[in-house]
């Protein structure tokens, strides 16, 4: 059975979410979110820790029921037809579901059994997936000895055993080192090019930027922005002047000197003494003015320059706080920021 004819009865969007609410006791995790993902597209669900991303994924994968609203996966209602939804989805997440005592092949085999695949089909599928995810050499070793990147790849392979029509990846690269992270990106891109609809949650803006066709930004359980990456970047418009203050104690002075060039508050990262200003269409003029002002003040800077806005800037503009504010220090993003220190 191929992916296409399993959902031939539905020509609407692969994922449809309408006014979904979910609370845990007094804590509201989702306060009415809406979004749609067309077949074969990648949606990046972006937001800080605790924004409601995982709750949204759990509702769409039938692990939680919404308090209110509707969620359809390939036209099947997650509350009224959860079994039908489960037939069509794959889920891989931040916590790996692989069993460390079992080999990679055994893990895949057991998944195939649980999806009720015929013996020859599940063996063939296991072999294909091991080849595709570059795990052939390690296939018959217990997965306890796999590296972090290998475990994530196997975890992803496990979610693909039954050729899902819609795949949910909940923070697939959280905790991976930068190299394994790029490796995962390649794997995910390849998957998407084969036509799988993908919903990806991430707290890394660069990840959403690199992988997603469309982005939905959620914060405190609400959608605060939605659109393509370039639409979101255009929304804040223009360029960004950025520099790092060498003598960290003079950051305040420096910001005061250039604040008037910025549309809205200057973004200051106190830890790295990095300042960024949204300067709109006056890019080069603002750059020259910044150099003059800072020079007149006698503040030494590094990496002073003009750049296009990143999703970080978008997030800051939308929420008033950075997307990675709550990212634990061992994350790749945190490490990257730390690397700029002197």
């Amino acid at each position: 059975m191929t992916r296409a004819n399993r959902v031939r009865d539905w020509d609407g969007p692969s994922i449809f979410v309408e006014d979904v609410h979910k609370s845990f006791g007094d804590v509201q995790a989702l306060g009415g979110i809406d979004f749609v993902v067309e077949r074969g597209k990648v949606l990046g669900l972006l937001g800080p820790n605790g924004a409601g991303k995982t709750t949204a994924v759990k509702i769409l994968t039938t692990l939680l029921t919404p308090d209110r609203g509707r969620a359809l996966v390939e036209g099947r209602d997650v509350v009224r037809a959860p079994s039908a939804v489960r037939e069509l989805i794959g889920l891989a997440g931040q916590s790996t579901a692989i069993q460390e005592e079992l080999t990679g092949r055994e893990n895949l085999e057991i998944m195939g059994r649980l999806y009720h695949l015929a013996p020859d089909v599940r063996q063939r599928r296991a072999t294909e997936l091991l080849e595709r995810f570059d795990l052939v050499d390690a296939a018959d070793r217990p997965t306890r000895g796999y590296s972090g990147g290998m475990q994530r790849r196997l975890d992803l392979a496990l979610s693909l055993v039954a050729l899902p029509s819609v795949l949910f990846l909940d923070e697939p690269t959280t905790g991976l080192d930068p190299r394994s992270r790029l490796g995962m990106w390649d794997v995910i891109r390849e998957l998407v090019s084969a036509g799988t609809t993908l919903l990806l949650t991430t707290q890394y803006l660069d990840e959403a930027d690199a992988l997603a066709d469309e982005i939905v930004v959620i914060d405190h359980g609400k959608v605060i922005a939605a659109g393509t990456t370039s639409e979101l970047k255009n929304r804040i418009g223009g360029d960004v002047v950025e520099f790092v203050v060498v003598e960290r104690e003079r950051v305040g002075e420096a910001v005061e000197a250039v604040q008037h060039l910025s549309e809205g508050e200057a973004n200051v990262d106190l830890e790295t003494a990095r300042v960024s200003l949204r300067v709109g269409e006056r890019g080069s003029q603002a750059l020259v003015d910044s150099v003059r002002r800072l020079d007149a003040l006698g503040v030494n800077t590094e990496g002073l320059g003009l750049r296009r806005p990143s999703l970080d800037d978008v997030f800051l503009a939308l929420t008033g706080h950075g997307a990675e504010d709550e990212v634990p220090p061992q994350s790749p993003a945190g490490r990257r920021a730390g690397g700029r220190r002197h």
Binding site: D9, F35, G75, G93, Q94, A97, I110, L114, Y115
Partner: protein, 274 residues
């Protein structure tokens, strides 16, 4: 976004498969997970230790170190007194694996992954129960073999001997339902590892497992005499060595049924909520 236009989307009908088909798949899923649980167990040295080595050490310890100092009045002496107790105690402690495995699977997200798949939800717990039963049968048979090697003998014929083994396994399975609840309720492997089984110590040691209850102080006897572990062990002892059967038999049955009636719903509820 286009949500407003799409609110008129009508979800597809997705009828559930017939009951017979669901039962067939449920049995298949249960067996798949039983197989999985047993494979994991066989490859985990710590689990092997708890199932085989520790009970054997207990047999040798009580038989040769403490046994000489404990006067008992049963045919064949202390080793015969000891074996039913050791079997029940080991079966109870074997449920450690149940609690640890369930907590670990919850914590790692394995159970969430299973629940997002088109498999029977009950298969996770049922598969666990079946693999635990297999494990318990092996444990009990190994302890018996060691017991035979150090002088234990059945004194009451073959059928009661077989019944004793069955009662030991059933008792272990019943304790596994309690452990399943503990593991699912605590949800954290480390906590389960450090205090998830504390309750088993008073139950198994303040019982007739290793010493005659009448050797304890009076206030302790009241507990030791009437708690389920003692009642089950007394019944096992009567089956192995001869003695009054019926009284302890129905008491055991009531206790075991009661524990199952309380803890199976609790475990299922924790599993659903987790």
């Amino acid at each position: 976004m286009t949500t407003a236009v799409l609110s008129s989307l009508v979800a597809l009908d997705a009828p559930n498969p017939p009951v017979s088909e669901r039962i067939r798949l449920g049995v298949m899923d249960t067996l798949t997970l039983t197989r999985r649980d047993l494979l994991i167990w066989l490859r985990n040295p710590a689990f092997i230790f708890f199932t085989f080595i520790q009970p054997v050490m207990f047999v040798l310890l009580f038989r040769y170190v403490f046994g000489g100092a404990i006067p008992v009045h049963v045919p064949g002496g202390y080793v015969n007194f000891l074996m039913p107790g050791i079997i029940a105690q080991s079966a109870a402690f074997a449920s450690f694996g149940t609690a640890i495995a369930l907590a670990r699977q919850l914590q790692k997200g394995v159970i969430d992954r299973f629940r997002a798949m088109p498999m029977a939800r009950s298969a996770v717990l049922l598969g666990r129960l079946v693999s635990d039963t297999v494990r318990l049968v092996l444990t009990v048979l190994i302890i018996l073999a060691v017991g035979y090697a150090v002088g234990f003998r059945f004194h009451n014929g073959v059928v009661p001997a077989v019944l004793m083994v069955i009662l030991g396994v059933v008792f272990g399975v019943v304790i596994c339902t309690v452990s399943a609840f503990v593991g699912l309720a605590i949800k954290d492997e480390e906590s389960v590892g450090s205090f998830g089984l504390v309750w088993l110590f008073p139950l198994t040691f303040v019982s007739a497992a290793f010493v005659p209850v009448h050797s304890m102080p009076g206030w302790l006897q009241a507990f030791a005499k009437n708690q389920p572990v003692t009642i089950v062990i007394d019944e096992m002892r009567s089956l192995a060595l001869g003695g009054p059967l019926t009284m302890h038999a129905w008491q055991s049955a009531v206790w075991l049924a009661g524990i199952v009636a309380v803890f199976v719903p609790l475990a299922v509820r924790s599993y659903r909520k987790a």
